[in-house]
């Protein structure tokens, strides 16, 4: 019997192994990020918190909301949002204005309508209109010139021949 097998077969060794595993897990969880634990007075506040976190963009990571990101700045902003909701009972507009004052338009996933963002808001509509215009033009161009063309006698005879005299 090898040393290792004997080692694992004794009970105290088993406990020791479990303890070692526990220690490993303890340290690995200490390494991972701290999980936020936020308390709210009611579910309305909680809903507001989650809604705002998903609407606000993390300034550091650029393509995640602050709900998504675990960057330190996203954690800070979540804490600020929570503080404003619970302590100040601030509404959405106040919190969004707070973020705008500090980080500019960038923090909003849904940009405000302004001169700078006009292209974002109205560009697609303009493109759609251009598309419809072009489509309309093409359809009109390809429509046969005159639909009330009358058949002369020769054509009628030809047609009758093809249809075999029916109709």
């Amino acid at each position: 019997m090898s040393f290792l097998t004997r080692f694992f077969m004794t009970r105290s060794a088993l406990i020791r192994t479990l303890a070692a595993i526990a220690v490993v897990f303890m340290f690995s969880s200490a390494q991972a990020a701290v999980i936020d634990n936020y308390k709210f007075e009611d579910t309305a506040q909680q809903d507001q918190f989650f809604r705002l976190n998903n609407e606000l963009r993390c300034p550091q990571c650029q393509n995640q909301s602050i709900a998504d990101s675990n960057a330190p700045i996203a954690q800070d902003l979540r804490r600020e949002v929570h503080r404003m909701i619970v302590e100040e009972e601030a509404d959405d507009d106040t919190i969004i204005q707070f973020m705008l004052d500090r980080y500019g338009d960038f923090v909003l996933y849904k940009p405000r309508i302004s001169g700078k963002t006009a292209a974002l808001w109205f560009g697609p509509v303009v493109l759609l209109l251009i598309g419809l215009f072009v489509l309309f033009g093409l359809v009109r161009k390809h429509r046969p010139e005159s639909s009330n063309e009358t058949l002369d006698e020769e054509d009628k005879a030809e047609l009758d021949k093809i249809l075999g005299g029916k109709d």
Binding site: P72, E80, L100, D101, R102, Y103, G104
Partner: protein, 189 residues
């Protein structure tokens, strides 16, 4: 010239419409490419006063400073942390600037005091003093989203410029120094 010929010319011009669209698209993408690589957000606080705060200093943790204590002279507010590799790159140049007489106030951002103090002991201390912002709340109020960031503040405590990223000789000579000297001149008058 016949009408047919004229029509043919017009339709040939039409063939270039997709090309024009494509070129516009290319130009937009090209511009976008370099906008993204700058990775800088405009400072929303430009020409606003330094936000209110009351925080301890690094070397004298029992003393607190407020935004009012900073007024009177033009200064650089440098946001740094011992956890931030870029700050280490920037640090020797800040030491050099401080030796030239530039007033630099530090903001120890989301850092452990012991780590920050060890850093200053080992790498030299260019700061007049350091404000300790352990939770990053002043950072949020300043619109900080990373480190290092450097704010240029005038004698009345108004933020005049914000630089994101390291301050190196190029940034200092080309951007910060002219603004810093202009503000100092204004301060004397």
């Amino acid at each position: 010239m016949s009408r047919v010929e004229e029509k043919g010319k017009k339709s040939r011009l039409k063939l270039f419409v997709p090309l024009a669209f494509f070129m516009t698209f290319c130009i937009l993408l090209y511009v976008g490419l370099f906008m993204e690589s700058k990775k800088e957000l405009p400072s929303a606080l430009l020409n606003d006063p330094v936000p209110e705060f009351s925080l301890p200093t690094l070397k004298k943790p029992t003393e607190t400073v407020t935004q009012a204590d900073l007024k009177g002279q033009v200064y650089l507010l440098n946001v740094w942390g011992s956890w931030c590799p870029a700050c280490k790159v920037e640090h020797p140049y800040l030491v050099k600037l401080a030796k030239k007489g530039v007033r630099i106030i530090g903001l120890s951002y989301k850092d452990e005091d012991a780590d920050a103090l060890r850093w200053l002991q080992r790498l030299d201390d260019p700061y007049e003093f350091n404000i300790v912002d352990k939770e990053g709340r002043l950072g949020v109020n300043l619109g900080v989203y990373g480190a290092p960031e450097t704010f240029l503040v005038d004698k009345n405590g108004i933020i005049r410029y914000k630089h994101v990223g390291i301050v190196d000789p190029r940034v200092w000579v080309e951007i910060l120094k002219p603004k810093y000297e202009r503000l100092q001149k204004d301060a004397i008058q």
